[in-house]
Amino acid sequence: MSNLFSLIQNENMKIYRRFGTWVMIGLLVLASVTGAIIIKATHKETNDWKAEVAADSNNIRKILKDNNIPKIQKDHLQKQLTINEYRLKHDVKPMESNTFWGYLINSADIISLVTLFTIIVAAGSVASEFSWGTIKMLLIRPASRAKILLSKYITVLMFAVSMLALLLMISAASGALLFGVETIREPYLAYQNGAVVETSMLAHVLQVYALNCADLVMLATFAFMISTVFRNQSLAIGLATFSLFIGPQITYFLSLKFDWAKYILFANTDLAQYIDGMPLVKGMTMPFSLAVLLVYFVAFNAVTWWTFQKRDVAA
């Protein structure tokens, strides 16, 4: 009977009225601004980008002569070569990190910080109510447990989106201030069906951000699940951050030996591998990864929902 909107409002109040949340927001802003300052201070200008691109192309051609290299790698290099040739022909300078767009692309690396903070918030969402004892007050209202859980989950995702938007805005602002906006009209060179096309840089930046969000969503959902099942925030933070930092490594080593590694969550969270890289295991495709992610997503949420719905509250 209480409506979902009010419940979400409550959850947001509980997040933003806490000091810790503002520390996280402060750290994110700091990371984004310092990133720009460091690049400004350390970046070396290339004198002659055309010579460098030409050298790179020669290198690629040498490697391509070898017939033993696998097909995926060959395709990847071929694509690189085509783009290089396009640059020289149409005088399109490669994007450098000390430019407005270059810095925005770089700022996507800071998304792992957003992931970490979202994990912390997700891990606390249910577990804190138990450790504070407030769960007893929360669940004796005319609101179903399902609705309360949904409001919490939505609020966690809202937090992630707000943090991403903040990161993008602060990075854009510090990029514009430190590197200027003269290069803002430069296009992004995309490789589509064997040809190079000029596309919007903004769309590219948003795509890079979006592709980086797969592990953000998956790990937040994972932390949310652990938090609900074990009612312990530290455990949820621990397991999720461990997975965040160690998961990809372990998956990589496994993928060298075993084909089934492609079913591991972390083999699939890096969706950028299909755009400008090589798949971890031969035969993996974007739809395959999306399907695997969906299965994990549904499984995590089912476990969370089921435990929250069924278990007695005897804290």
């Binding site: 009977m1 409550n10 109040m13 407030t134 007050m137």
Partner: protein, 304 residues
């Protein structure tokens, strides 16, 4: 009269252990009903089942005739409760806590929040963070959140825990007032026996998860009682009483005469003493305290 809160053959198993056995009770509008039992008797478990925090293994709980398990949202909207300690969000102010709970129920206005704050006497501290509150203030805030939506059943688990004597008295009077004037059904639990006696109209004694008995405080005080007559001269009075009814159990004590007598017979005995020229300075009903009663019921067994 239809009961507001009904427990029908409620049973709770946790693992292989049965915590509550076949518990049935009815609570009516306008009464304060006690759940009395020693530590570990199952009072909190019973309350958790009533408010839906714990599932019910078998049997059912009805609020205004609506099953808590089958139609939770409809049943619980008439219930206000504090289960064990009144835990609040410590990083929020008292007022923000109330806003939080107000948002979860329909029709709680800003005016109602302020009214409840005044009711529990927190107006001076309501905008302070809860982490700065004393236990008594948290108890009051807990009461405020339970009353916010004008429930018809109020359930409080050990409501006087942590309150000073003045606070205990205040809560007691307040709960009685809610029951009398607003026709609420109030359920309180306690292991403090004397407190139940002062606060409740009826109470259930629970031991080892089983209902031992349901007693009415009024009936209890009207059973055969020890009555102290403060009289002068004592010896003469004793003789008179013996002559009046040789079956009465009489004992001479310092202040006067202790007689075990039916409640309704007290005025007659007094009239007789006065008529015989004995000076009667006072009559005290030494109500058999609940404690005695309680220990009698549970046969002085080990309690946990």
């Amino acid at each position: 009269m239809k009961p507001i809160l009904q427990l029908k053959h409620v049973r709770k198993d946790i693992g292989k252990k049965t915590i509550i056995h076949d518990l049935s009770l009815d609570v009516f509008a306008g009464e304060v009903f006690g759940l009395l039992g020693p530590n570990g008797a199952g009072k909190t478990t019973t309350i958790r089942m009533i408010v839906g925090l714990m599932g019910i293994t078998s049997g059912e709980v009805l609020v205004n005739g609506v099953s808590v398990t089958r139609d939770f949202e409809k049943a619980i909207q008439h219930v206000g409760a504090i289960v064990e300690n009144p835990e609040m969000y410590k990083f929020l102010t008292g007022y923000q806590n109330l806003v939080h709970y107000a948002r979860m129920t329909k029709g709680v206005t800003k005016e109602r929040i302020e009214e409840v704050v005044r009711l529990v006497g927190l107006e001076h501290r309501i905008h302070d963070k809860v982490k700065t509150y004393s236990l008594g203030m948290r108890q009051r805030l807990g009461l405020a959140q339970a009353l916010l939506h004008r429930p018809s059943v109020l359930i409080l688990d050990e409501p006087t825990n942590g309150l000073d004597p003045a606070g205990i008295r205040e809560i007691r009077d307040y709960l009685r007032k809610l029951a009398r004037e607003e026709r609420l059904a109030v359920v309180v639990s306690s292991h403090l026996l004397a407190e139940m006696e002062m606060m409740c109209d009826r109470f259930a004694i629970i031991q080892h998860g089983k209902l031992v008995t349901i007693e009415s405080v009024q009936e209890l005080s009207q059973q055969t009682e020890k009555v102290l007559f403060i009289v002068e001269p004592k010896e003469k009075a004793a003789q008179m009483v013996k002559a009046h009814d040789p079956h009465l159990d009489i004992r001479l004590v310092d202040q006067g005469l202790e007689v075990t007598i039916d409640y309704k017979d007290i005025p007659r005995l007094n009239a007789m003493l006065v008529a015989e020229g004995i000076n009667v300075y006072g009559i005290h009903v030494l109500a058999k305290s609940l404690e005695e009663r309680f220990l009698e019921m549970t046969e002085g067994n080990e309690i946990v």
